[in-house]
């Protein structure tokens, strides 16, 4: 079937994350449909999970296609509704007559973790972790996990965080995950973001820990407690698929300097309302617990 005629909106993809790239080019995507539309994100449901079309300021991820902005308009003007079908034709992603995205010239993007970077325990510098903590103090959002633990001293979160020490048993870890998933307001609840951050430290560590499997199992058991979008974020985390800024921060803490950690933390914490701060808090706890272990 060839689609002819012009589209109301059309644009080019600038970069494709490795998963997006792989599946688009091998035409392995059937049953693509719109899940949700935001100002600068279009989420697509597919056989392999949630994929997203984003504009450059959102950043990059293995499951993202970064596209050029639509002039002065945003995605909300395109007129796409949930369940709208989407097909891949040649080098184009087509949404009926509304939108056409040409990904022919798009470059593949891989973040540092995507390329296989692992941080090593023996190279982890305490000063980098301290720098992350300082950044959280200075730039962490008011209502984010970090502030709630260290300033407001909220019991529920503190308990959950304490349970996540790396040496704990499966049942304790599971109960912590249980209480965190779905906790808090927002598209991606505070608890989910925190877990994402924590898990990112664990999955990207060269040395394997039992806790990784405990957390992953527990996530799958509790997915029903959160929403589709956040759930997909958690599923991606279990597969070591993380947003660019998370990857950059892991790399900064694992291998760079306190200054770089500060910069990478700031960038991450600008995401969303509290999402960035919550993820950063999870990363911090992850590294603290790692240090504690050894």
């Amino acid at each position: 079937m060839t689609v002819q005629g012009s589209f109301e909106f059309s644009t080019d993809a600038i970069s494709l994350g490795i998963y997006m790239n792989r599946y688009l080019h091998k035409h392995l995507l059937n049953n693509l449909k719109v899940h949700s539309v935001f100002r600068n994100v279009i989420n697509l449901e597919s056989d392999i999970g949630l994929l997203s079309l984003v504009t450059p300021e959102v950043g990059r991820m293995a499951t993202y296609a970064v596209v050029s902005p639509l002039g002065d308009e945003d995605f909300l003007s395109v007129g796409l509704k949930p369940e709208s079908k989407c097909i891949v034709e040649g080098n184009k992603l087509i949404f009926n007559k509304n939108l056409c995205i040409n990904f022919k010239a798009a470059e593949e993007w891989q973040g540092i973790l995507d390329k296989g970077y692992k941080w090593k325990m023996e190279e982890l510098k305490e000063e980098n972790v301290i720098a992350l903590k300082a950044a959280l103090h200075i730039y962490g959002e008011k209502n984010s996990a970090f502030k709630r633990v260290y300033e407001n001293k909220e019991k529920e979160i503190i308990e959950a965080v304490e349970k996540l020490s790396f040496k704990n048993s499966k049942s304790i870890i599971s109960s912590a995950i249980f209480s965190l998933i779905g906790l808090g307001p927002g598209l991606t609840p505070t608890g989910d973001d925190f877990i994402t951050g924590l898990l990112s430290v664990i999955t990207s560590c060269r040395e394997k820990k039992y806790i990784e499997k405990f957390i992953i199992d527990s996530i799958y058991e509790n997915l029903y407690r959160t929403n589709y979008i956040s759930g997909n974020m958690l599923i991606n985390s279990t597969k070591n698929i993380y947003h660019q800024y998370i990857q950059d921060l892991i790399f900064a803490v694992g291998s760079e300097t306190p200054e770089k950690v500060m910069e990478a933390s700031k960038r991450l914490m600008k995401i969303g309302a509290t999402s960035g701060s919550d993820i950063a808090a999870g990363i911090y706890i992850g590294f603290i617990n790692a240090l504690e272990c050894f």
Binding site: H137, I138, Y139, P258
Partner: protein
């Protein structure tokens, strides 16, 4: 390493916008050098210095945009270029608001009514001309630009006087007219104190303290840095004093300035005596003058000026609020203090505040060194290396050539702050954090970053440093004073409202 230079013809952007873009791009991973600027001689020189000059750039004129990059690899280059492009189009897109766009003052005057204030910050070589056009069209002028000649300044001020218009500047950074902040200024409660001053941060310190005491301002008029020089003769100050005299909402008048020449001082003092209102006179760095009019109270620093003015305004005594955390922080510091930690390092963004801190130290007989002192024996031989008690004005030309002022881009003084903190002889770091219109959106965050990073290194060496910040702002400023204060405290700062107070505290920790 990959280098690239691009010249775009006839694409004009204002210099501050471009410097902010440069600053943003320089923070990207893998970017070693970046310059985004118009083809001025200054920028071309900077380009040469970082090894990015090209033939196209040699030929560039001030209407051409130059982009120079030195980055790690091709990927970073492409990303940086894309980012720059986006930022530039965003800047020009934002200009396309609803309604007509204008390029000239004359166009606005032709088609619109009621525009009565021209805020001018174009490069100095064009500034006087634009100010003249504004005055000729019956507009008052706030002239932020510097590098305007004395002759041009006199011509403008005479023209303004002949037409009964306010000519603030050149080199005027702060004013608050009818409660509206112009340039770098804070949100201050309205009240009955009228202020005329030649120094931007000086006005900011006084107005914010006045606000904290519960008093308010009627008008705050900036005269520009050179108004009280012999040639210019205080033209704007004199007109401003007359206007405050005739302002029924002004009951207390404050005059703030560096010491003027004798002749000019006489004129100002005479005008002050004839105001028929109470006058609080602050001539920074000056001896007490004899034979002042009865209505004149002379103060020696900004803090004292604000206290006296607020007291007169409210008809009751006012006092600075003490810092709750100071005592415990100092105690903790003293227990850990090493014998060689003997000195204070002031790393300032505001020149007047730096000066004021220096005065405090001088008055206590403590020897200081600085990059802005006029005393030969106090001059820092190597500006890159501080000596003993040193006070640096990071807004001075030496530091800001081709870069934004630290008030706009505070991260530019962070390296120096960290350098000073890590010096084994340093006991105290003293700095100003200025909020308000025109300032960075999170100056406390940036300062706290510097302290946090310095503290990490200090911790490794088993040392601590005492951090003192003068946080200049009000609870109505866009940056949220309370949150800014918390950020500083979380990094270990003692936070004070008054620069003098901060300097005195610092001095008390190092005097023998």
């Amino acid at each position: 390493m990959v280098s690239k230079t691009i010249v775009k013809s006839n694409a004009y952007f204002d210099s501050v916008t471009l410097m902010k873009i440069s600053a943003q791009i320089s923070k990207l991973k893998g970017v070693e050098e970046v310059l985004v600027g118009m083809g001025t001689e200054l920028n071309k020189e900077s380009l040469k210095n970082i090894g990015l000059m090209s033939k196209g750039c040699e030929a560039a004129n001030p209407n051409d945009l130059i982009i120079g990059l030195k980055v790690q690899d091709e990927d970073t280059l492409n990303m940086a270029l894309k980012n720059i492009d986006e930022l530039l189009t965003n800047k020009s897109k934002r200009k396309e608001f609803k309604g007509k766009s204008y390029e000239r003052i004359e166009e606005v005057v032709r088609e619109q009514e009621g525009y009565n204030m021209a805020v001018i910050s174009v490069p100095g070589v064009y500034a006087a001309r634009e100010a003249k056009i504004a005055l000729n069209n019956d507009m008052h002028v706030f002239l932020f630009s510097d590098n305007v000649s004395v002759e041009e300044e006199i011509e403008l001020k005479d023209l303004a006087n002949s037409k009964g218009l306010l000519m603030m500047g050149p080199d005027c950074g702060t004013a608050i007219i009818n409660g509206i902040p112009l340039g770098f200024a804070n949100r201050i409660r309205r009240g009955n104190i009228g202020i005329v001053g030649a120094s931007g941060t000086g006005l900011q310190q006084v107005t914010t303290l006045i606000h904290s005491f519960g008093a308010g301002i009627s008008q705050v008029i900036g005269t520009g840095g050179r108004d009280l020089s012999l040639k210019v003769g205080g033209r704007t100050m004199l007109s401003a004093l007359q206007a405050l005299k005739e302002d029924e909402n002004t009951e207390v008048v404050v005059i703030i300035s560096k010491p003027p020449s004798e002749k000019v001082a006489k004129k100002i003092l005479k005008a002050a005596s004839n105001l028929n209102k109470k006058v609080v006179l602050c001539l920074l760095d000056s001896e007490k003058k004899e034979g002042l009019g009865e209505n004149i109270i002379q103060c020696s620093n900004l803090e004292e000026t604000a206290i006296k003015a607020a007291t007169l305004s409210l008809n009751k005594e006012v006092k600075l609020k003490a810092s709750e955390e100071a005592y415990s922080i100092i105690k903790e510091f003293e227990t850990m203090r090493k014998p060689q930690q003997k000195y204070v390092r002031g790393v300032y963004g505001g020149g007047t505040l730096c000066d004021e801190a220096i005065s405090v130290f001088r008055n206590r007989g403590i020897t200081i060194y600085s990059n802005i002192t006029l005393e030969k024996k106090e001059v820092l031989k190597n500006i890159k290396l501080s000596r003993k008690n040193t006070f640096l004005d990071m807004g001075d030309d030496y530091f800001t050539k081709g870069k934004p002022h630290p008030m706009i881009e505070p991260s530019l003084r962070n390296n120096r702050i960290i350098q000073e903190a890590l010096d084994p002889e340093t006991a105290v770091i003293l700095l100003d954090v200025v909020l308000g219109h025109g300032s960075h959106e999170d100056p406390a965050g940036i300062a706290a970053e510097a302290a946090a990073l310095a503290n990490i290194s200090l911790m490794k060496e088993g040392r601590k440093v005492l951090w003192i910040a003068a946080l200049i702002g009000t609870d109505e400023d866009p940056q949220n004073y309370g949150e800014q204060k918390e950020k500083l405290k979380s990094a270990g700062f003692i936070v004070l409202q008054s620069n003098v107070e901060a300097a005195k505290l610092a001095a008390s920790l190092v005097e023998i």
